[in-house]
């Protein structure tokens, strides 16, 4: 039974079709890669899955629940969380505060209990801080808890985005270019982290990635988009051999001459 089911989803922006009739099924506890050249519609797909955009047509089902058209916070509550291609941390908040915002849904303090600061509230807050510290340690940010997010190094910011997304305790995690701008060493650490998400936290992970080494190294299943359409999917070794994928990435003589005419 698929955890996520994308059914004939299209999205147009005033005539420009960013995504055209894309369908995909994702099995629980797998790591799935979404690849494709620039402008293929990868991030648009993520924005549709997390409610930033509504599909022009088609349906998105998550765990037997239709999620397209739901407001952002309801989708988070349903169990989907994400990171962003252009890092979007709460940059003037500390690392741990970023993670604590992620755990918002799992805390219950309201205005009244915040003012009264009941023992229950204090306990809950303590536990939340503790679990945030653990989450930060899990992504390799131990000791950086009280640093402002914008003062963190680039790679650390990417990790903090993952920590914040993890604090939502999603069952489906979407990572938008988790290794962008990282050196090979950092990329390898990130791959280890991503495998840990599935093996230790039993999550389903979908990632957009440009570094083929990372995609081939960590993904069990790959979906290839080009010009808003799904052109291929399958196991990494099969996708690598797919003629259409090679064309999309390298172009062909025929395509080139057509473009020139």
């Amino acid at each position: 039974m698929a955890i996520l089911s994308v059914r004939h989803v299209s999205r147009a922006f005033e005539g420009l079709i960013a995504l055209n009739d894309v369908s995909m099924e994702i099995e629980p506890q797998t790591i799935v890669g979404v690849i494709g050249p620039n402008g293929a519609g990868k991030t648009t797909l993520f924005n549709l899955l997390t409610g930033f955009y509504r599909p022009t047509s088609g349906e998105i089902w998550f765990e037997d629940k239709r999620v397209d058209g739901l407001p952002l916070h309801r989708i988070a509550a349903a169990g989907i969380s994400r990171t962003f291609q252009n890092i979007r941390l709460f940059s003037n908040m500390t690392a741990i505060e970023n993670v604590l915002v992620g755990s918002h849904l799992h805390l219950s303090t309201n205005i009244a209990t915040a003012i009264l600061r009941l023992p229950f509230t204090i306990q809950q807050e303590k536990r939340a801080v503790q679990s945030a510290v653990e989450t930060l340690r899990f992504v390799g940010l131990a000791g950086r808890e009280n640093e402002l997010a914008r003062n963190l190094a680039y790679g650390e910011q990417r990790r903090l985005e993952i920590a914040r997304a993890l604090a939502v305790r999603p069952r489906l995690l979407l990572l938008d270019e988790p290794t962008a701008g990282m050196n090979p060493g950092e990329s390898i650490d990130m791959m280890r982290l991503i495998r840990g998400l599935r093996d230790d936290l039993k999550m389903t992970v979908v990632l957009i990635e440009h570094q083929m080494r990372v995609v081939m190294g960590v993904c069990e299943y790959i979906t290839v988009l080009d010009h808003g359409e799904k052109i291929s999917e399958g196991r990494p070794e099969d996708v690598q051999k797919d003629q259409r994928v090679i064309e999309a990435y390298l172009g062909t003589g025929a395509l080139l001459s057509e473009g020139a005419s």
Partner: protein, 416 residues
């Protein structure tokens, strides 16, 4: 760039906090100084407090005010805990007894505006929603109390203690007005939100002005009774000042606790990046409404107190100036920080009054009426200077300070 450099060094040179900490640092270096620094606050602050307390009769209002501001700044900055609070409390309670009626009125106004500032700070400072129509909530509270209690409407119940019943009622009413405003404007951000709230504030005032049948229109409502505490009538400005002071304390306490909770965190996240906050599970609509409602409730409470103090309210009391003044004191004092707001209220409301008897009489320069004639010019210049030299406000929250530092780093032109 050169200009920017010199301005920012000037800005640093004029930063009172810098001298405060540097002075403390140098003091600590000497052995005697170390002892003074350790125990100094226990001696210096009471001395200052006594000086301030001897106050108006001895030093004149101007010096008393200066001392009060310095003590407040020191206490608010150093977070000197319970002891500082006790000294401050003693001073604020004791001082008005040494003042004449006019000065007591000023103290009341400062406290009232501090209360309004604490309320608006929840909306603007915490949740980042620029509200230019805050006066609407103030007016709702004031008119609710006036209409329920004033005899000219026959309604005029013999209210006795009912000030204390109307107070929570007015807060609830204002909160509802806040939500009523919030629902339609929630989709708007930034400048658009500011314009709509501005209009809303004016609509409420004009409505009060035109609905003669209900509000008595521009003629106003008179003979609003004073509140009672037990069997004592709280009639003088000092007694009502204490009511507002208590209100400030409760509101500041509540606001800081909410800020330090999950709710405050959600507001911060909304201010930083609304969409991302939502995708982390924050119901941004509900949280923005919450901020509006809390800010409005505090404003409504302030309105009831204003109504009780004035004994009469008119639509013209609730014009745009009130919203602008409250917003200005929040910005000057330091957005996002209750302590800054209190300091802002002291300066913004107190300073124009204190400047009244400001004069220069040196050598051949005799400007006896300088303050009386030009106080608002001097005041305006002071506000402009603060905004140029310390755009984040006098006592900003840690986070707001970080945001401004960030802006400096990003755009040196913006920083100049």
């Amino acid at each position: 760039m050169k200009r920017g450099g010199s301005l920012s060094s000037l800005r640093r040179a004029l930063d009172p906090g810098r001298y405060w900490s540097r002075g403390a640092e140098q003091l600590r270096r000497t052995a005697a100084g170390a002892a003074v620094a350790r125990f100094g606050q226990y001696a210096v602050l009471p001395l200052l407090a006594i000086a301030g307390g001897l106050g108006p009769s001895y030093f004149g209002i101007r010096w008393t005010f200066a001392i009060l501001v310095i003590v407040m700044y020191a206490l608010l900055r150093s977070r000197s805990g319970l002891f500082g609070l006790v000294v401050l409390g003693a001073m604020l309670v004791y001082l008005p007894h040494q003042m004449d009626t006019f000065e007591r009125g000023i103290m009341f106004d400062i406290a009232l505006y501090a209360l309004l500032g604490i309320g608006l700070n929840v909306v603007v400072g915490y949740a980042g929603l620029l509200d230019l129509g805050y006066v609407a909530f103030f007016a709702s509270g004031a008119y609710l109390y006036a209409l329920i209690s004033a005899p000219q409407f026959g309604g005029g119940f013999d209210i006795g203690t009912s000030f204390w019943i109307v107070l929570p009622m007015a807060m609830v009413l204002a909160a509802l007005v806040g939500i009523a405003l919030g629902v339609p404007v929630l989709r708007l951000r930034g400048d658009y939100l500011a314009i709509v709230t501005l209009g809303f504030g004016e609509i409420i005032r004009i409505m009060i002005n035109n609905e003669d049948g209900v509000t008595n229109g521009p003629v106003g409502v008179f003979a609003i009774p004073k509140p009672h505490f037990g069997s004592t009538e709280l009639s003088g400005p000092v007694e009502l000042y204490f009511v507002v002071l208590a209100g400030c304390f409760v509101a500041a306490f509540a606001a800081e606790r909410i800020r330090d909770s999950r709710v405050g965190r959600a507001w911060e996240a909304i201010r930083e990046d609304e969409d991302v906050a939502a995708s982390m599970g924050v119901n941004t609509t509900a949280y923005k409404l919450m901020a509006f409602a809390i800010g409005a409730a505090i404003g409504g409470g302030g309105g009831v107190m204003y109504s009780a103090k004035q004994s009469a309210v008119f639509p013209s009391d609730f014009n745009l100036d009130v919203s602008i003044n409250v917003l200005a004191l929040v910005i000057i004092g330091g957005m996002g920080n209750v302590r800054g707001v209190i300091l802002g209220a002291m300066l913004l409301i107190g300073l124009p009054e204190v400047l009244r008897d400001f004069s220069i009489d040196v050598a051949f320069i005799h400007l006896d009426n300088l303050g009386a004639d030009y106080r608002l010019v001097i005041f305006g210049a002071a506000l402009v200077a603060v905004m140029i030299l310390r755009p984040e406000g006098l006592l900003p929250s840690r986070r707001r300070a970080a945001e401004f530092e960030h802006a400096d780093a990003l755009d040196p032109e913006l920083a100049t």
